[in-house]
Amino acid sequence: MSTRKYKRLELAENQLKTAIGLFVAGADKFSVITLAGAADVILCRLVLNTGQENFTDLLIREFSNECPSKETRASHGGDINDLCHINDLKHMDKGDDGFIDMDVDECALGAILKALANYVRIGGREKDFVRTFLAWVRLNLDPKKYNIHCDPNWKPSK
């Protein structure tokens, strides 16, 4: 056992890689959500450090083009995390009854997609775990609902 220096990108990448491995293997989806959520916190900051906008900023900008909003990065990021129940899976306050109603498959998919959107801005799409997940997306998701080919001009079918 010894201490060494790690890049935070390496810590985030390893957690996201494990999350995707568990997801495609059909293993524990709660762990997928927690790992993708933790990786995404680091990735959000690293993307900003490169001078790019992160996924949360992109969503705020796209929505505010259609409907002006005063939403901040922190509030919108918190809302997305709540949708995926990321905080519920790592916290329990005094007085909390402990029950959660959720679609764990949808939340696991959402947590990975958000983290991956940030990861590709820094790490690109060439790593095996990214290619594996994108292949899973093409094989398993509805192309009317999801942008399975990562087309920048894609719009969901109405």
């Binding site: 056992m1 220096k5 709660f30 329990m92 306050d93 109603d101 679609d103």
Partner: protein
């Protein structure tokens, strides 16, 4: 959308089982630390809700005996979660450097140990993943040596 009702007790167990499985199979230690940390946070509250003493509260008492001052639980928990690498794997603020020094091997063992100790207070020691981890630590962390040192401690520290 198919929503199902879950309880955090079951979610914490699953995350801890996954952490132990990844650890014993030699997989990514950052993931082990994050999962054990998440499970540990939930288990701590569940243990306290049952009127029992979680690891963190016991640790506060050890600090009091050693330093003469009882730390605040929140501060001590933050200290422990940093010491065990949990915070560094799920937070990064604007002014944090892009590198961090960690002993992932030790932190993974410590983070799982904390969560497993609270899990045992809730559910006992009957689960195979708990026994697998305890066997690993006994063999690889010098269990007999740790027990020898514990037995040499003053009585007031052993009986906190």
């Amino acid at each position: 959308m198919t929503e199902i009702r879950y309880h955090k007790r079951d979610i914490a167990k699953l995350q801890l089982m996954t952490a132990v499985a990844l650890f014993l199979h030699g997989k990514d230690l950052s993931s082990v630390i994050t999962l054990a940390g998440a499970a540990g946070n939930i288990l701590e509250t569940l243990v306290r809700n049952e009127g029992k003493e979680p690891f963190v509260d016991y640790g506060c008492k050890v600090c009091r005996e050693l330093s003469g001052k009882m730390p605040k639980r929140k501060s001590y928990l933050y200290y422990i979660n940093t010491k065990f690498g949990v915070n560094q794997h799920k937070h990064m603020s604007e002014h944090d450097p892009e590198t961090v020094e960690l002993d992932l091997d030790k932190m993974a063992v410590d983070a799982i140990s904390k969560a497993v100790l609270d899990y045992i207070k809730l559910e006992g020691q009957k689960e195979s993943f708990v026994n697998a981890f305890l066997s690993w630590t006994w063999k690889n962390m010098d269990g007999p040596g740790i027990m020898d040192n514990f037995m040499k401690l003053p009585k007031k520290l052993k009986n906190l």
